[in-house]
């Protein structure tokens, strides 16, 4: 008999995440992966980091396979969950071997911000992650939104309300009501903070040009400045006043989501009409049965049971509202463009003032 006793020590629950801290390496890795896969959206990778007192420090990431190997029929199909899991475990083992942080803290997705929630893929995947580790997060990177000089990266978690409703898996109106689940509280966004190591800071300084003071601006320095193409040289791409690049795809996807929403509403309307018809028939049948029972009572006969309608009539099953909920949530997310439009209006006002002067 072994002289060591195994104890089931309960794991200390870490507090919920309040903030996400990203290393510059992670940001650049995600951008590289998603850009290389563009325009194929749905690029997936894994996040590695550590959770300390409500701050999730995400230090690195690695790409996940997107198609099955050696299977012609499976080309362009998503890899099975098991294969992806095996790849993730193997990668984490390798990272551990070289002394890197190996806490698996979530996943990232390269997708359009106006369509990532429409299909259940995002919530199903994130549900699996959050079930295993409640502090897991999902990153969304939208390359099309990042093309005007401002990085579009967001960190999301499913809300406790959604997690509880998903546990039940009924997705009926009564279920959503009981969990107080609305399109606006399917996911919650977490604030993102960028953190750099000392060496990364040195690299960033070497990638940006030091501004030459006006007094020492020689001809050579001026020409060098004009010709330098360091990645951190300002190109003023965010002064772009054309709507097309930023909004066109978003509006297309928004209108697609609206069509899907109307389709879901149509299904719901059809169900309600069917239900109303069936209930009218039931009421008619009950009224008829009551009249029959009145006649039977007059003849001193036993009344017939009133709940026989349950055998005769079949009420249509209540529709699942998950798709409708997700599409609504997606539309709510896509229509929050106040910040973008205010920046755009500021640019227009600036152009007008510059022209006037």
């Amino acid at each position: 008999m072994s002289d060591t006793t195994s104890l089931n020590v309960p794991e200390l629950e870490s507090p919920p995440i309040e903030r996400v801290e990203l290393e510059s390496l992670l940001v650049m890795n995600i951008i590289k992966h998603c850009r290389d896969s563009f325009p194929n959206m749905g690029t997936i990778g894994q996040l590695v980091g550590i959770d300390i007192d409500g701050v999730l420090q995400v230090s690195s990431s690695f790409e996940s396979p997107s198609v099955l190997e050696n299977e012609e029929s499976a080309v362009n199909k998503s890899v099975s969950g098991k294969a992806r899991q095996a790849h993730t475990e193997a990668m984490l083992n390798r990272l551990q071997y070289i002394g890197a942080v190996t806490g698996h803290v979530g996943w990232y997705l390269g997708a359009y911000v106006s369509s990532f929630l429409s299909s259940p893929f995002f919530v199903e995947t994130q549900y699996a992650y959050q079930k295993a580790n409640p502090n897991s997060i999902a990153f969304l990177y939208d390359l099309s939104q990042s093309s005007n000089g401002t990085l579009y990266m967001r960190a999301y978690q499913l809300t406790p309300e959604f997690m509880a409703a998903h546990e039940e898996k009924t997705w009926t109106a009564s279920s959503l009501n009981s969990h107080n689940l609305t399109p606006s509280n399917v996911i919650r966004e977490l604030p993102i903070v960028i953190h750099n190591s000392h060496l990364a800071t040195c690299l960033l300084h070497s990638l940006s040009e030091p501004p030459t003071p006006a007094s020492t601006l020689t001809a050579e320095a001026a020409l060098e400045d004009c010709e330098s193409n360091l990645p951190l040289t300002e190109t003023f791409s965010n002064f772009e006043v054309s709507l097309g690049t930023r909004y066109r795809k978003n509006i297309e996807l928004l209108l697609e989501s609206t069509d899907e929403f109307h389709y879901e509403q149509g299904n719901l309307g059809f169900h309600q009409r069917q239900l109303a018809r069936e209930q009218a028939k039931i009421q008619q049948w009950i009224a008829k049965r009551k009249a029959e029972n009145a006649n039977r009572a007059a003849e001193n006969l036993q009344p017939l049971p009133l709940d026989d309608w349950k055998r005769i009539f079949k009420l249509p099953a209540e529709p699942r509202l998950l798709d409708s909920l997700l599409i609504s949530s997606q539309i709510m997310k896509s229509t929050q463009i106040d910040e973008q439009s205010s920046a755009f209006l500021s640019k227009l006002a600036g152009v007008r003032n510059a022209y006037a002067s």
Binding site: G149, I337, L345
Partner: protein
């Protein structure tokens, strides 16, 4: 007296056909190397790793897209590289990125010594018969050095190699030929670098992601400082305190010629058209949001 073949010095200039003319480095690679450098063991002067990427058909252009660390041990007498780890890691990488192949290796030291030559030849050598290629053969092997020594500036250099020296010592001798490189620069990379560069002057090295408006404000301030700088220079030239330069004058003229010349009426028309576009989008978005909100609430009525 004629020299025996054993004493002949073999010098091979890298052929222009095989050596790359240009190397493009993904910024993520540099950040990854620096991250690896922070986990350097005390007995090693540097860390090394494998560079992965793509080559153009003629092999003249190499894009270094990603990399991974390879454990190694270095002493004054010998160097051991864990090629088994390299093999396993490369196969894992291929599953996620089948298009990326080994293009070379990196080290976090600017020194090029006999061990560098050994590792270079290890990466450039052909695979054993019947095994998958793990090196760059028959293509040139790129060696990327990043100087992470805090006492000197962070310097990045790329090399290709050519065998040099006495025939039986070819394994640990080669001439490293510096090769030009550029850092990948496109809108996606720029937006990422701008975001991660936000805390570079902050002692805490922490900063929140910028919103569109904050980014616009920063760019506007930078533009104003540039205009001020040029304005001061021009004023100094006019005053005679700075010498005039024709080339700078041409550059400035070129800049001014890019300013569009639009009539007042046309400008107002363009302006109001743009403004209406934005307002229509905002109106559409708000209407949709309200409609969806109402519909969702109605759906949940018992």
């Amino acid at each position: 007296m004629a020299l025996g073949t054993k004493h002949v010095l073999h010098l091979t200039k890298p052929s222009s056909r095989s050596s790359p003319l240009n190397i493009v480095i993904e910024p993520a690679v540099l950040f990854s190397i620096l991250d690896h450098s922070t986990r350097k063991s005390e007995n090693n002067q540097r860390v090394i790793g494998t560079l992965l990427g793509t080559r153009s058909e003629d092999g003249r252009e190499i894009e270094i897209k990603s990399c991974f660390a390879v454990p190694h041990n270095e002493s004054s007498e010998q160097v051991e590289v864990e090629m088994e780890y390299h093999r396993a890691m490369y196969h894992l990488h291929l599953k996620a990125n089948p298009r990326e192949v080994v293009v070379g290796w990196y080290a976090t030291s600017p020194d090029l010594d006999a061990f560098s030559a050994l590792i270079q030849n290890l990466y450039a050598s052909p695979a054993e018969p019947g095994t998958a290629p793990l090196g760059t053969y028959p293509h040139p092997c790129v060696h990327l050095t990043v100087n992470t020594d805090v006492s000197s500036p962070l310097a990045i250099k790329t090399y290709v190699s050519s065998p040099v020296g006495i025939t039986e010592r070819l394994a640990d001798s080669c001439a490293f030929v510096p090769t030009p490189f550029t850092i990948r620069d496109d809108e996606a990379v720029r937006s990422g670098l701008k975001a991660v560069a936000a805390p570079k002057n902050d002692p805490s090295r922490l900063a929140s992601l910028f919103t569109d408006l904050q980014q616009l404000r920063r760019s506007t301030l930078e533009l104003l400082s540039m205009i001020e700088r040029v304005s001061d220079y021009v004023q100094n030239v006019i005053d005679g305190s700075s010498p005039a330069n024709v080339a700078v004058g041409r550059y400035l003229m070129k800049c001014f010629s890019l300013i569009p010349c639009v009539e007042g009426q046309d400008f107002e028309k363009i302006f109001s058209s743009h403004l209406q576009d934005v307002l229509v989008v905002v109106y559409l978005a708000n209407t949709l949001r309200t409609q969806v909100d109402i519909a969702s609430r109605l759906n949940l009525l018992p």
